[in-house]
Assembly symmetry: C6
Homo-oligomer: 80 residues x 6
């Protein structure tokens, strides 16, 4: 239907696999930070070594986390 | 349309069936904890022995619960 | 596209038709309780004899109610 | 894909066309009341003679209103 | 799949193109008012000469604005 | 299914690629401002040189940001 129109995650999110990313979720005050293990075309993500960050401080270690793409506000690569 | 691109739940969520998981839902302060009985490709879940957790304390036993995938913020496996 | 992968409502929600269920909705403090008359694959529901429950008390009789599936947080069967 | 499984609005919502309904919307304190003119399969609605109701009182006449189905919490027929 | 069932925007929203409309958005206190330039089948809208209205007063001129359909609560034609 | 009906982002959002835009997100008090690098048909966006704006002041530099389309309230081109 949109031939020639590249869907978003294929070219941008895939390039972030293996990198550290910060995720802001809808209606959540905290940010998730983790290594992006895999993503699908709906921006559903699997993060490893995930930590929950509030006001710039790590408040909780979550480890392996599945994140539902439709509730993601934004994905921000962390430059290290 | 995305041949070669594996959808999220097939390889990650399926591996959690039979395990204890914690679920954070959109706009809810409480967390659900239960045994993942089944999941579909939209992250719709059926949990057994579900309890509602607020501030780390079990406040309510819900038993069998169907959870709507699009309102899930994240799924976190519980290591026991 | 997901042959062999059974969608959620077909095997779980259908088994609840005719039973009393409690429904928690996104962004609502109240819970709906009613007899599940029918459900479709998106978890859209038709409830009969529906009552609205706040803090465990029935506050309003709604009768026949159509509920939009994407705004459901969870469905909890009521054991009587 | 779901042959034999009747989608929700076709048999329930269509039966309400021409009747007065109350609509509760996500994140809104007010309720909409109007005559259901037409509905589509996503529960998108066209209401006529719509009024906005807060705490049981009509506070605003809106007339013709298009309502986005995914933001509807529930549809409640008004018995007159 | 729904032959004979006309989708919502085709017959209703299209009739509003070129007219002034008010848009209520999910989780927003303000209302958008503008000339409807174009709409697609998901109620995604392009408004021209858009102003933001709070408590009946124009507080901001936004000009050309793209509005995401799934976050629209309702569309209300403005009779002038 | 909607032949002859042009989907929203193809003709409007594509025209904004390379320009500075402001994005209002659902449930967020801040606005994002950045250069639109790419958009897909769901209004998923990739912004470059992104800054977060609160009450008209730039409060944070985010750089490269992926934004989930379904959580966008509106896109507003910035005239410079």
């Amino acid at each position: 239907m949109f031939r020639g129109f590249i869907l978003f995650p294929n070219d941008k999110v895939k390039g972030l696999v293996g990198s550290k990313v910060q995720i802001e979720m809808k209606g959540e005050k905290s940010t998730l930070e983790g290594i992006l293990e895999i993503a699908d075309e709906y921006l559903n993500l699997h993060l490893m070594n995930t930590t929950e960050i509030v006001d710039g401080k790590k408040v909780r270690a979550l480890g392996s986390v599945l994140v539902r793409g439709n509730n993601i506000i934004l994905v921000n690569p962390v430059n290290e």
